[in-house]
């Protein structure tokens, strides 16, 4: 079928080229030294900060997304709010990259609207304040990048988890309370076990989403933040590297991390599908 030929030509062969290239030496021949150097500075630090950023934004996105989704779906909230949130999530989950980075620069960048408002009207300069735990704030390091990532992480969580929350049927809740369970017991024995596979699946999706992101971080920090995709981009956009196979090895490293995530995702997806209507 032409479809498989197409997938081979434009997906498998190029991907294989990267994977094979990461095991090649500068002067040809096979070597593990590229892979080896992934475990040393500066590449090790890049992987650590990429994984940290992805884990924290995925965890925060999952928890906040779940709370917002539950607030929007639970009894008592007008249905129109759910409609608005779903539509907006569809847009926001797709509104990433360059424009998103600029929206935050215009908001809480050095001369952003909110920054200026806070300093002129409330005499609070957010860039010169020392905060407990975090230290000083800037939009242009990994922490700032994380704040901006939440703008597409939370909506993605909302879209993914809403069907699972719908799957928590009201009858179960009624049945539980008829049997004398209180709200805590309901969550402990019914709610959390049913939601767990979807929640973990969503977590992996959000992790991958943050881990592969390039444009937002690139635009926000002008390519200076040490994340793996940014490093790959740096080496491929004309910046000379004494060993081009190192960039391929970085790509190989990303591939391995994401492949492990995918292997965890597939069985979770199957379990989550059990309660879907």
């Amino acid at each position: 079928m032409p479809f498989f030929a197409y997938a081979a030509l434009f997906l498998f062969f190029p991907a294989a080229e990267v994977l094979i290239g990461s095991f090649k030496g500068v002067h040809g021949g096979w070597t593990l030294s590229n892979i080896h150097s992934l475990f040393h500075s500066p590449f090790r630090e890049a992987f650590v900060s990429s994984i940290k950023l992805s884990l924290t934004t995925a965890a925060a996105g999952c928890i906040l997304g779940l709370a917002i989704a539950y607030a929007a779906i639970r009894d008592g909230t007008p249905r129109i709010i759910r409609g608005i949130i779903t539509t907006f999530s569809g847009v926001a989950a797709n509104f990433g990259g360059i424009p998103l980075a600029f929206a935050f620069i215009a908001t809480i960048g050095n001369v952003g609207i909110v920054t200026k408002f806070l300093s002129s009207d409330l005499h609070w300069n957010i860039y010169q304040t020392k905060y407990p735990v975090f230290g000083s704030f800037t939009l242009f390091n990994t922490f700032g990048v994380g704040i901006v990532y939440m703008y597409f992480q939370i909506p993605l969580m909302l879209l993914v988890i809403a069907p699972a929350i719908d799957g928590l049927r009201r009858e179960w809740r009624e049945a539980a309370s008829n049997l004398g369970a209180n709200s805590l017991q309901f969550w402990r024995h019914v709610g959390i076990p049913v939601l767990m596979p979807s929640f973990l699946g969503a977590f992996i999706l959000l992790f991958g989403n943050a881990f592969s992101a390039y444009a937002t971080a690139y635009s926000l920090t002008a390519g200076s933040v040490p994340l793996v995709p940014i490093l790959i981009g740096y080496y491929y956009s004309g910046n000379v590297l004494d060993n081009p196979h190192l960039a391929q090895a970085l790509a190989f490293g990303m591939f391995v991390v994401l492949a492990v995530m995918m292997l965890l995702y597939i069985p979770l997806q199957r379990r989550a599908a059990r309660w879907a209507k």
Binding site: E17, I68, P78, G90, G97, P99, Y151, M254, F255, Y265
Partner: protein, 265 residues
């Protein structure tokens, strides 16, 4: 009926509203600042963008790329998924698995693979957005097209439709074009709008392969002119809104469910 919302629900929704709306409002206010004084209000930034030839040029490139990607995707995926549903249901999990692959091979990895693999290929392919970029975008679009079309085919009885059409003497091509296609139109349109949203926002591949598309233009403006950058940011947001609202509008019709999220991160 009196609506009674839980207090905690109200707090969560207000917080979410603030986080998601403030950056948009701030960008709007920012775009209305006067260049000379840095205070409100002037539509000058929008004028700058709309009178910039490069804006229209790059917007056109991205829009045409979107149309080309959609055309190739439909020609490639509609018959394939039809055949899989009709004759080779065993292959369906294989396709579903393939649709997850772009998740494991992110754009940044894909583009360096393509750049290396096609280095030295003829320049009508390698140096043209219509060649190199479009083929990459078809791969990016595959998951969204697959999930839309798959849901579309599942919502109709393709076996009966195909048999009826063949009994009346229609050829395969005719069956597909005049019987099947109209029935999955909503699904195909949904996939197409998602694809358009992806292509209009894709930065990683275009940037590393050094092509000039709409997101690359936005990046260039952001580095040079602050207020017009805010204006073009909102224009881009508007384009995403338009694509997603169209998707939602079709989504009300049968068979367009299953479409997920695209991404330009």
């Amino acid at each position: 009926m009196k609506i009674r919302m839980k207090p905690s629900a109200i707090v969560w929704l207000l917080l979410a509203g603030a986080y998601f709306i403030i950056p948009l409002v701030a960008t709007l206010l920012f775009s209305l600042n006067k260049v000379s004084t840095g205070t409100c209000c002037s539509a000058h930034a929008y004028g700058t963008i709309l009178h910039d030839g490069a804006f229209w040029q790059n917007l056109k490139t991205s829009a045409l790329l979107g149309v080309e990607t959609i055309a190739i995707s439909l020609v490639l995926f509609v018959p394939t998924i039809y055949l899989v549903h009709l004759k080779l249901p065993k292959l369906r999990p294989v396709l579903a698995f393939l649709a997850l692959i772009p998740f494991v091979v992110p754009p940044i990895v894909m583009v360096i693979g393509l750049l290396d693999f096609y280095k030295g290929s003829p320049s009508w392919f390698y140096a043209q957005p219509w060649g190199f970029l479009a083929t990459a975008y078809v791969i990016l679009a595959f998951p969204y097209m697959f999930f839309s079309l798959d849901a579309g085919y599942r919502a109709i009885d393709i076996h009966t439709l195909t048999e009826a059409s063949q009994n009346l003497g229609a050829s395969w091509a005719r069956t597909l074009l005049t019987v099947i296609l109209p029935n999955i139109r909503a699904a195909a349109l949904a996939g197409s709008f998602l694809t358009l949203a992806i292509v209009m926002g894709e930065f990683t591949i275009a940037s590393l392969a050094a092509f000039h598309t709409f997101p690359i233009y936005i990046q260039g403006i952001e580095e040079s002119e602050a207020y017009p950058a805010a204006a073009v940011t909102l224009i881009s947001f508007g384009i995403t809104w338009a694509a997603m609202l169209s998707l939602l509008f079709i989504g009300r019709k049968r068979g367009a469910r299953g479409a997920l999220i695209a991404g330009a991160r």
